[in-house]
Amino acid sequence: MTATAQPVDTHCPYCALQCGMSLHGSTVRPREFPANRGGLCQKGWTAGELLAPERRLTVPLVRVDGELRPASWATALDLVAARIADIQAAHGRDAVAVFGGGGLTNEKSYLLGKFARVALGTSQVDYNGRFCMSSAAAAGLAAFGMDRGMPFPVTDLDDADVILLAGTNPAETMPPLMSHFTRARLIVVDPRRTATAERAALHLRPAPGTDLALALGMLHAVVADGHLRSDYVTDRTTGFAEAWRIAAAWWPERAERVTGVAAADQRAAVAMLASAGRAYLLTGRGSEQHATGVDMVGGWINLALALGLPGRRGCGYGCVTGQGNGQGGREHGQKADQLPGYRRIDDPAARRHVAGVWGVEPDSLPGPGRSAYELLDALGRPGGPRSLLVFGSNPVVSAPNAGRVTDRLSDMDLLMVADVVLSETAARADVVFPVTQWAEESGTMTNLEGRILLRRPAVVPPGEVRSDLDVLQGLAVRLGQPAHRFPTDPEAVFTELARASRGGMADYSGISYRRLRAGHALHWPVPAADHPGTPRPFLDAFAHPDGRARFAPVDHTGPAEPPDDEFPLRATTGRVLAQYQSGAQTRRIAELTAVAGAVFVEVHPDTAQRAGVTDGDQALVTSRRGTVRARVRCVPSMRTDVVFLPFHFPGDQRANLLTNPALDPTSRMPEFKVCAVRLEPVPVPA
């Protein structure tokens, strides 16, 4: 690692808030930036340690006699390309699959999708953002005709009077966001009394998996208590009658029985939102990561629409995107059903346009492939892919039903991983490429408010580290593609991405590195080089052809796996402040593991006592799919029917050994947020 002479302004490597920071060598300093206003959490402060050569991969690794051993780039690329060619020759193009990540830059996600469709010709490409944002994306598209996470700058929240946060815990997951909530009174919807809920004026505590019943009860209260914005509903929306027909059957007292949230509190929350001059409703993974996640988000959007929030200055609905490039990563074609610019791969016009930019025949582009969990689940099985190329993802820890996914990953002809660190997934690979990370490269990220940010290199990567773009070009050329089709210069890739996105929903065609270097604050769509960007896209009209937002006719059905005698508790999973996602990066930082170094299970003291365990004990949490060994943490504010586990930890500490891969029919989002479990003491050895 060689530092630049001067500190370089960049952004944090972790979440979608993309806090501004400056970096000199590995020394982080906070930097004034609208999203974080000079604030950083402990993850951001310690991010520089990721750059230390001893914490990261520095040479390609190839498995020889069961062991990963250093190899040259040429050897490793030759090996992977030859195996791909053999596998595809024997089993067809779809026998090779690609798995991307929401932390990859726009350039990498774009080129990865192109690589899959053009160089591999496979339809089997998806990414871990399927596990994060897919439900919010599908619900946003259905309601507004466009999925621009937060369709307003995050600084708009500074002036809010009331904000409802449904299933999001920013006090732990993106702490500097809380600095935008100092004025607003918060209504927090969460089964747990989280750090965010502690700041709430009103905390609504539904049973896990019942968020939609709560949203329906509240929509009912909006109407019955006289808060419906009829003028707005008439002028700017369609579909209210059908949505109301369902919500009419969810009077708050009935919703109370299902959710455990008092009818009086539902009414109070609605009254707070309705009487506020400036009100916002934000959703997070808590409401989205369900087998009915799209409907759940639809229920919250219905509530926002009935109150007349979306598309009005000073009000709004948004989702709080999670991963660093969780927004950009879902726009440029690493998703199974998608082409760059947020286009659909089954749309003939989209195929023609993108194929034109790529210089290939539209018919040569494959159709939609399997979604993330379905893809992982099909690996090595009849008709499924026999090889997986992973970029910036760690599904061994982060996928639902992780035990099963790990089995599938072990049952393949080729597993290739490109990553910064030797993640749990990389450790199982046949070939591992060491690739550049945030401060070692150029690249753009699109943050949670849809603003495109340019990250600049602050250090020279150590050892043999190269960009993911080099991996893609190296493989593409070996698979017979011309080198110029897979540029390795990020700016060249971005220029092509901008062209490919032209005319799409996420139109980046007016964005250039030049404008970003000049400090332009550009929120997409930016359809021309002189266009100022679109910080608030819905003020005049929503993105559907008729300009109206759509109410969703959604009803509550409940969790896919209700508790029973054998598994009487509901487990919910989530995050802690000092770890990020699968922990592949943050578990390598001593200061963070000192704060949160191992999995724990939060449980009500009575529930612990009944299970025969006490605070500090190791205990077993078991679902139909697996068992986690976790330290008991008794928390009196927990519901007695719920346990909570963070999912950042490896091996038999993986909370995702428990989770249920039941998928949402539209978004294919797994049900991470609720499954049935039991809690037991660790058996004493005989």
Partner: protein
């Protein structure tokens, strides 16, 4: 073969299901059947409704009475529903008879409908107590007397309530109180006349009844308890058994309902507090089922919608053949008064104490709050909760899930477990390991050390420990800490 239709009733059945009644139970059954069998294969569905209009949500009638909801907004279905749901809907038609041998029902328009499975969802009829003058010779309410059961009743009553005009509500049960609250909200001067000493005496004990009455009195509702009405005097009101008068321009009767078993009785089905059904919702004729208020099942309480909907779900599973083993075993009883600003919840049998019962009681008459929790074998056996919405929500869930009651029962009744640090301990009193800056995991002890090493103000503490550099939410606490340390010297 046990047929898909007829709930295991016999061989060779095909899919003609006829539902008699288009109220909340009948409408829900039709929806559930179409949810499980959207294509109409195997079930061909006919619904016969006696009223001319589309079904509506009866639970919301008290909101219609107050004007909170319009009549249109409580309709269960729109005009497109029958076609979109492949339902042959016959409105404004009564079933005049059932021929169990031919498996056909005769309709008042002269037509008939065949069935393989017949479902009675005929509901209940309001009961008029034997008060002189209340009913005309035809048994219908006399002029000025109204029942509160249908959307039409609701519209009639709404049109007749004048601000300040006296209204009497006959019956202090759940529905009567909701109506009284609604009339008061519309400006009527309302008196509830109830023969018992306690309001909602099927559910409440005497203390709870008194607390509830006080709460309603604060909303402008007056009461005459413990004395039955003796005579209705049109234009004047009700004369009570003790000789006193309750002035009333109109009298709303809410003295309970009786299952409508006319058709079932004529068809010689077994009647026992309603049309008797088994766990398959079958009557004494296995091809005829009954659900909702007209049915009697030992596990259900009539007059509530939850059992009717549970029954509809079970029966739909049976009739479509999607879950032939489905059975209805009853619905846990939770009674909830729906009246603005008055929170009453009764779970299970809140009056029962008895042996082995562990009873916790909290009474705060001045505050309008009363709670009684009956625990048996560690589970909620019953509860009565007035003015405690949080506790009601929690206890209802414990009851529905048959989950163990937390050890601290008083905390359950108070609704929220108080966090250990509630009460805002001063910064000086916090232990060294107390987290001050969550964003950067900085505990009080580290801040104190940093202060002793010379970081004597908030910016210096931030520089030394990063405290306050995340969301900034702890900066006030850091200021307090600096002041406390300075004062302590």
């Amino acid at each position: 073969m046990r047929g898909a239709v007829g709930a295991g009733a016999g061989a060779g059945v095909t899919g003609r299901v006829t539902i008699v009644g288009y109220g909340m139970a009948g409408a829900r059954l039709a929806e559930e059947i179409r949810r499980l069998d959207p294509a109409g294969d195997p079930v061909e569905l006919t619904v016969v409704g006696a009223e001319p209009d589309r079904a509506y949500n009866r639970v919301l009638l008290s909101d219609v009475l107050t004007g909170a909801l319009s009549a249109a907004s409580v309709r269960l279905h729109d005009d497109r529903w029958p076609a979109a749901s492949r339902v042959d809907l016959r409105l404004d038609v009564r079933v005049t008879g059932i021929d169990r041998d031919l498996r056909t029902v005769a309709l008042s328009d002269g037509t008939s409908v065949d069935y393989d499975a017949l479902v009675l969802a005929t509901g209940a009829l309001p009961w008029l107590p034997p008060v002189d003058g209340l009913a005309g010779d035809d048994g219908c309410p006399a002029p000025g007397v109204y029942t509160f059961r249908s959307l039409r009743d609701c519209a009639t009553i709404r049109a007749r309530i004048r601000p300040g005009a006296p209204v009497a509500v006959l019956g202090g049960g759940l529905l009567g109180l909701e109506v009284a609250r609604g009339v008061a909200a519309r400006g009527g001067r309302v008196t509830v006349v109830h023969p018992g000493d306690t309001l909602m005496e099927r559910q409440l004990d005497a203390t709870a009844g008194r607390v509830l009455a006080s709460a309603l009195e604060r909303c402008g509702v007056e009461f005459r308890l413990g004395v039955p009405a003796a005579r209705y005097l049109p234009g004047d009101g009700l004369k009570l058994a003790d000789g006193t008068m309750v002035a009333a321009d109109l009298v709303i009767v809410s003295a309970g309902v009786r299952p409508d078993v006319t058709l079932a009785a004529a068809a010689a089905l077994v009647i026992d507090g309603g049309v008797r059904v088994d766990d398959c919702l079958r009557t004494s004729d296995p091809r005829i089922h009954a659900i909702g208020d007209c049915a009697y099942h030992s596990g259900a309480v009539s007059g509530q919608v939850a059992p009717a909907w549970d029954q509809a779900r079970t029966l739909a599973s049976l009739l479509t053949g999607t879950a032939p083993a489905a059975r209805y075993h009853g619905t846990p009883v939770v009674t909830r008064l729906k009246a603005r600003d008055i929170d009453v919840t009764v779970v299970g049998d809140g009056r029962a104490d008895g042996p082995r019962a562990d009873v916790v009681r909290v009474e705060d008459a001045t505050g309008g709050r009363y709670a009684k929790l009956v625990v048996r074998d560690g589970r909620v056996a019953g509860a009565v909760l007035v003015g405690l919405p949080d506790a009601a929500a929690t206890i209802t869930q414990l009851y529905d899930q048959a989950a163990p009651v937390p050890a601290d029962r008083l905390a359950v009744l108070l609704g929220r477990a108080l966090p250990a640090d509630a009460g805002g301990a001063s910064i000086g009193a916090l232990p060294g390991e107390a987290l001050i800056c969550r964003c950067n995991s900085v505990a009080k002890g580290r801040l104190v050390s940093a202060w002793r090493s010379g970081a004597s103000d908030v910016p210096a503490l931030a520089e030394a420990t990063r405290a306050g550099t995340g969301c900034g939410g702890c900066r006030a606490a850091l200021g307090d800490l600096v002041d406390w340390l300075a004062a302590a010297g």
